[in-house]
């Protein structure tokens, strides 16, 4: 830890301005992680929701192994998408309420990089636990070993995209009363490509087809979202803050 701190100090006092940016991003990320770990229930809720949604499918549609095997990848992906969607409201809400966000806008560091840091923290808090929980649930819907691996991989690449795109919607709906439904209405259409490629890759893996091409395309989505989405989120944040 001490070596870490001295590293941060070294970065802070470095003459280049870009190094200061990295330190700021790190600080924003650590702060988000720390404050979330002090409210563990907020961390747990999306995961519980994830499990519950998956549970509904065998109960509501069919518990047959053949059906679950075929639809399992899609079910897990839809459930993951919905739980990320549900957790988006927390992304900026607390910082907006207590004024931290306004301070963040006033920082000399570019806002979109701080937004990128916040989105990544959001992914560590929601997307990553979902990925870690996935093998267990995948076994429960009777996916096979190879498919489980590919499913985890697609979720690992895909959930950061969900967090990054979702940040745009969360920023646009900050401070609005009926934010929840509005957020879903705006963001779900934008999630569709990720969902299609995520489930398509799992299906291809189940049929024994090669999946490197699809995974590469999902990686391209991730790169695109990382480079473009923070700009839109930052612009949206400035708009919402000027409103409030």
């Amino acid at each position: 830890m001490s070596s870490d701190e001295s590293g941060v100090k070294a970065i802070l006092h470095a003459p280049e301005s870009s190094a200061g940016v990295l330190a700021a991003m790190k600080a924003v990320m650590l702060r988000d992680l720390k404050s979330s770990f002090r409210q563990p229930q907020d961390l747990l809720n999306p995961l519980l929701f994830f499990v519950l949604v998956i549970m509904l499918f065998p109960l509501g549609v069919s518990p047959e192994v053949a059906f679950l095997q075929k639809a399992g990848g899609g079910i897990l992906w839809v459930a993951a998408l919905l739980s990320v969607l549900l957790s988006l409201d927390h992304l900026f809400r607390h910082d907006f309420d207590d004024g931290t966000l306004e301070q963040m806008v006033l920082q000399p560091q570019p806002l979109f990089l701080l937004v990128l840091a916040k989105s990544m923290a959001h992914w560590v808090l929601t997307g990553l636990p979902l990925v870690l929980l996935t093998p267990l649930l995948a076994v429960m819907v009777h996916l096979e070993g190879n498919s489980i691996g590919v499913l985890c991989l697609t979720l690992l690449i895909g959930t950061p995209v969900l967090s990054l795109i979702g940040a745009i919607g969360a920023a646009l709906t900050l401070g609005l009363r009926s934010a929840g439904v509005l957020l879903s209405l705006m963001i779900i259409p934008l999630y569709i490509p990720v969902l299609i490629f995520g489930t398509g890759t799992v299906m291809a893996a189940a049929e024994g087809a090669p999946v490197t091409g699809q995974l590469a395309l999902m990686g391209a989505f991730l790169v695109l979202a990382m480079t473009l989405a923070p700009f839109a989120s930052a612009a949206a944040l400035r708009i919402s803050l000027s409103n409030g």
Partner: protein
Amino acid sequence: MWQFFHKLGSPKWFYDIASRLMPWLLWSGVALFMAGVIWGLAFAPPDYLQGNSYRIIFIHVPSAFLAQSVYIMMAVAATVTLVWRMKLADVFVKSAAPVGAVLTFLALFTGAVWGKPTWGTWWIWDARLTSMLILLFLYFGAIALGSAISDEKSSARAVAVLVLVGVVNIPIIKYSVEWWNTLHQPATFKLTEKPSMPADMWVPLLLAVLGLYLLFGWLACLRMQTEILVREGRTRWVRELVKPGGNP
């Protein structure tokens, strides 16, 4: 050119220009659209495979055309809103979005009606149908966000950001939906291979498309005028305009 662009910043100037333009747009639009539709429905030859049922194309294709280009127009206006903060651009976005949504719905509806005799089903999860459905929800999202934010300036810029994000996503959505369809869709349903259309079919179709563009222009002007009157209600020229004794 630039003078024209600057003048666009003045709602009053636009209101006057629109008033002069609208009769032309309306009557040329009605003439072209009716010519196209009547020619298409009554005089064009029936299709050798689909018989007369294909004639819905004269409504379906124009509305699908417009549905897509209205979103593009909105994206251009959204850029203008964000870059130059021009009020009129936002007036256009707000006025055009519901029209675009209705046209998208019309395209989907006529597509479903056409699909019943042609494919034997109202709806299939075909790539083009699905991407039009997604477009409909993009319109709904923009409309909902616009009406949720009460502050006029914030609402304008927020919707502009959303529309631009949507327009970046449209090619990605279109491409991925096509990819998804080719992977899952069994080849049971295929769009009937169209014969290369004879002129008797594509000329009325072109007329109908052009006519609907002009009619959209008229409707956009009308809705924008209304929106301008609402927003500029406190200015003197609007008060004089709507005064009982003033100019109509």
